[in-house]
């Protein structure tokens, strides 16, 4: 495993563990304070399971007041706190520290208010993303951001990571669908930001904390926008003889004024891997394939499907299939959603990257990945949220070969650096966490990073909340940063990814 430098362990905190546990048991129900090493074991990692570290103690507060008291206590005693939602994050954002209190929001699992008149839902942060849609779907409403792990990931975690999903281009990410939060700062201050109104006045603190990866506050309540379900949804499965043709088709669809609900691109390696895995009926002779999802009223969708077919034909599509019904549409998606386990079938291990690039640079980036794949002699499969430019190359290797791991790491870092070089960014939806921390200086100079650190200090003067995440500790930009999966298994192998 790569060496990871984390904040210096405060030995005095470790020494006074018993007192800390005793005091925490005074604040919350003593049964919800876990401190035995066997109890701590399940919390030693999150979705980035290559990194493991047991926390000092785990707490499960039940209400905002308790969260405030815990933070206030830790702040005055200078104890580090790491917040954790469902623990499905892929960038190690809730990796514990040896001297930290791991603050779990699992008891915050209730939907507090479904308000159709104001088209919003108020939920506690531990509620899963999908539960929000489930709570309103009887009235044909839904919550738009749909990260692939939505059956397990929590809405509080979504806010912390600004989670996206396959429909981000049309419906935005969490930040565009969030109306308000109740948050607790490290000093115990409880702040209500936003609410049921569309805008909030003054500094957009809601925008600042969304995607702040648990470094600025602990979220204890969330208000999100809900939307009416579209009348009709159809998906088109389009095969292309070359990756260039598919890339060009994506640009032309967007330039023609169509904003698809989702647009996914897969290369030949992934078409075969996923089709073997779920028999989705993908065009196996194609070099690349697009799934274009279109939604709206019945007339809208018919018109859009027609337009997309016309564009695809003009751009040398080798096959076009339109979903006839909901069952078939879901089948089209099933292959794409099984990209992770399908790759697990092809190689013992793989790394998944998460850069975002301008759509027009896709072919250039894929060519570079191909070149690097030859250079490092490692196969790679590519899944791409073509609609919003989010690229997920999956590098396959065998971790039993130590040299292969090292090579893979270098390969991955080169891909991310190339994403930044063509005008893209390091991470589109997985977050920086510990995973891409050392690559931050590829995108930001020291002044940029110092400004962000000053904001951190403004809200957490002692740097006690989730320290060691997002911002580099070392000055040097180490070459690391990806999801490590061994034997096709992530921490939660059954959750669909990306």
């Amino acid at each position: 495993m790569t060496n990871l430098s984390m904040p210096k362990i405060d030995k005095s905190t470790i020494k006074k563990k018993d007192i800390i546990v005793k005091n925490l048991k005074k604040i919350i129900n003593p049964e919800y304070v876990l401190d035995h090493k066997d109890e701590l074991k399940p919390f030693e990692t999150d979705g980035l399971s290559a990194y493991k570290q047991k926390p000092l103690v785990v707490v499960f507060p039940e209400n905002t007041k308790e969260v405030s008291q815990i933070l206030s206590y830790c702040n005055s005693e200078r104890i580090k706190v790491v917040p954790r939602g469902a623990g499905t994050g892929l960038s190690g954002g809730s990796l514990p520290l040896a001297d930290c209190v791991l603050l779990c929001l699992g008891k915050f699992n209730k939907i507090l208010d479904v308000d159709y008149k104001n088209r919003c839902v108020i939920a506690q942060p531990g509620v899963t993303n999908l539960s929000i849609t489930k709570a309103v779907e009887d009235k044909d409403f839904y919550y738009a951001p749909d990260p692939s792990s939505q059956i397990a990931c929590s809405i509080g975690g979504n806010v912390a990571e600004n989670s996206g999903g396959v429909h981000s281009l049309k419906y935005g990410t969490t930040t565009n669908n969030l109306l308000g939060v109740e948050a607790v700062l490290m000093d115990g201050t409880i702040a209500k930001l936003g609410g049921k109104t569309m805008d909030s006045e003054g500094y957009d603190l809601l925008g600042l904390i969304t995607g702040s990866e648990g470094l600025l506050c602990v979220i204890t309540e969330v208000t999100v926008k809900i939307l009416k379900k579209p009348q009709s949804i159809k998906a088109a499965l389009i095969g292309f003889p070359t990756i260039e043709d598919a890339g060009k088709c994506v640009s032309i669809i967007i330039s023609s004024g169509i904003i698809p609900a989702g647009m996914e691109l897969m290369d030949k390696a992934l078409i075969h891997a996923t089709d073997n895995f779920v028999k989705a009926g993908y065009p196996r002779d194609a070099e690349s394939m697009l799934i274009v999802e279109l939604d709206g009223t019945n007339a809208d969708v018919l018109e859009l499907v027609e337009k997309v077919i016309k564009i695809a034909k003009k751009n040398k599509a080798s096959s076009i299939k339109i979903s006839k019904n909901e069952k078939e549409r879901l089948k089209f998606w099933a292959g794409r959603k099984a990209a992770f386990p399908a790759c697990g079938d092809m190689a013992p291990d793989y790394y998944c990257m998460d850069g975002t690039i301008p759509r027009g640079k896709l072919v250039e980036v894929l060519k570079e990945i191909k070149k690097l794949s030859k250079k490092y002699n490692l196969p790679v499969a590519n899944a791409f949220h073509a609609g919003d430019g989010n690229l997920h190359p999956l590098i396959m290797y065998d971790s039993n070969d130590k040299k292969a791991l090292e090579k893979t790491e270098k390969f991955g870092a080169e891909i991310l650096k190339y994403c930044v070089k063509v005008g893209g960014v390091l991470t589109g939806e997985h977050g920086v966490g510990i995973e891409k921390r050392e690559l931050m200086c590829e995108m930001f100079n020291n002044t940029d990073i110092q400004q962000q650190l000053k904001i951190k200090k403004a809200l957490d003067s002692g740097s006690l909340l989730n320290p060691g995440k997002v911002y580099p500790i070392l000055r040097k930009c180490a070459e690391e940063g990806r999801v490590h999966v061994h034997g096709g298994k992530t921490k939660f192998p059954n959750i669909p990814r990306f």
């Binding site: 159709y116 104001n118 990571e161 600004n162 996206g164 981000s168 281009l169 935005g172 702040a191 609410g195 049921k196 109104t197 569309m198 805008d199 006045e201 003054g202 500094y203 957009d204 603190l205 925008g207 600042l208 995607g211 702040s212 009416k228 579209p230 330039s255 004024g257 169509i258 709206g296 009223t297 019945n298 809208d300 018109e303 975002t356 690039i357 301008p358 027009g360 919003d388 430019g389 989010n390 005008g423 893209g424 960014v425 390091l426 589109g428 997985h430 977050g431 920086v432 891409k436 931050m440 995108m443 002044t447 940029d448 400004q451 962000q452 000053k454 904001i455 200090k457 809200l459 997002v470």
Partner: protein, 425 residues
């Protein structure tokens, strides 16, 4: 301080105005001001300068000459501009590729000058005011992908990028939106752009009132018909100082009746709009109501006038902007003095109000009621009658304390637009 003194201080500032043409010049000016602790007022074209609190700064930094489109990639759905670029220049460039700024920037010129003066990209971001499509497509803050700027230490900083999906570092683009120049002086802005709808039509329901119109708007927005505008213009209250003059404001032939207007906008292809209007009529059960349909040309004029507040053009009264949960709007209107001219936008989530003979006491009392309904109020335009209020914006002490810390992290000596939003920030 009297008004005369305030005005003369504004004139004095103008003689100390600097017009940097490059980012590095902006940085040098602010660096110098940082060293000498000299407060700086940052302005664009000045179209929204009167919004917020009066500033008395030794120096004025105008970004109007830091101007121009840096790059525009229609297929990548973004445009990168310098802050002094005029909004109408950006919009006409986008129109060539059938694209737009979907948040519909408000042209405050009609309110302050009686004619168009749409302001700059920097001003738009600094103020974060958005038009009628806000409830569907978001506000300015939802359409800014990245920026470069100079902070209060004179340092050039950046955040974000040119792509929609980006979680690399804190999202400072949101934070600077609506910060009224109190955190940074912008030097580069990247906006997300979207396709311009082919056509626009408006379903007008005639002669509803404040007790039933918001219900129709809510129902329309909550349907799957992708409504992109939902406003209500009442005919009452009748007040001699601020007359409700719907007929002369809009002058639209397609309107079959005089009286109040409840307007629902649909945008897209012709076929799609027709289907959605049909759906909506059925869904809203409006057989018993008089309706009109505004075709594209008139629909566009109508919404442009709503967006640009032409209803209040050249008003001599105070103009207030109230944002509340949409379900609260009817009750709030009942609780406010019934002589004020107003209209509802965003399906009732926004109330624009012209208040004649407003006193500071009355303003505070309105604010209390708005806050009680979980909303906030902004004094958009002063009048000769009420030329100054202590709190232009709404805030509570917790958010104030956090905002003060944030301000300090960008601008430790409080030299950038000090006090523009709140005393002490």
């Amino acid at each position: 301080m009297s008004m005369v003194e305030k005005q003369s201080s504004l004139i004095f500032q103008d003689s100390n105005i600097e017009f940097p043409e490059k980012e590095i010049e902006v940085a040098n000016i602010i660096k110098k001001s940082y060293k000498s602790s000299t407060p700086v007022e940052i302005v664009g074209s000045g179209s929204k300068r009167k919004i917020g609190k009066f500033l008395q700064c030794e120096k004025t930094l105008s970004l109007s000459k830091l101007e121009g489109i840096i790059e525009y990639y229609p297929e990548e759905l973004y445009i990168k501009v310098k802050p002094g670029t005029k909004i109408d220049k950006i919009e006409s460039e986008l129109k060539k590729n059938k694209q737009q700024l979907a948040f519909e920037p408000i042209d405050f010129g009609f309110l302050f000058l009686g004619k168009s003066n749409c302001g700059t990209a920097g001003g738009q971001v600094a103020c974060n005011f958005s038009g009628p499509r806000r409830f569907k497509d978001g506000s300015t803050r939802d359409h800014i992908l990245g920026f470069k700027a100079v902070n209060g230490r004179g340092e050039i900083i950046k955040s974000g990028g040119t792509v929609v999906k980006n979680v690399t570092g804190y999202d400072l683009s949101k934070l600077i939106c609506g910060s009224f120049g109190t955190l940074v002086a912008l030097t580069e802005i990247t906006f997300k752009v979207l396709p311009l709808p082919e056509e626009s039509k408006t379903l007008v329901l005639h002669n509803l009132n404040i007790s039933n119109a918001p219900g129709y708007l809510e129902k329309a927005i909550s349907s799957p018909n992708e409504v992109s505008g939902a406003s209500f213009l009442p005919i009452n209250p009748i007040c001699t100082n601020c007359k409700m003059d719907i007929e002369n404001t809009f002058k639209l032939n397609d309107l079959k009746q005089k009286g109040s207007i409840t307007a629902i906008r649909l945008e897209g292809s012709k076929k799609s709009i027709e289907e959605r209007i049909k759906n909506l009529k059925k869904y809203l059960k409006i057989d018993n109501l008089e309706i009109s349909i505004l075709e594209t040309l008139q629909s566009e004029i109508f919404w442009k006038k709503i967006r640009n507040l032409e209803f209040f053009s050249l008003s001599k009264n105070n103009i207030l902007r109230i944002i509340i949960p949409p379900s609260e709007c009817t009750q709030l209107i009942y609780e406010l003095p019934n002589k004020f001219k107003y209209f509802l936008d965003w399906g009732g989530a926004a109330i624009w109000m012209e208040a004649c003979d407003l006193s500071e006491q009355m303003y505070e009392s309105i604010k209390k009621k708005v806050v009680k309904h979980n909303g906030y109020i902004t004094m958009i335009k002063y009048s000769d009658h009420l030329p100054f209020v202590e709190d232009v914006f709404t805030i509570n002490h917790v958010r104030f304390n956090i905002s003060q810390s944030i301000k300090k992290s960008f601008d430790p000596k409080r030299i950038l637009n000090p006090g523009k939003m709140y005393t002490g920030i």
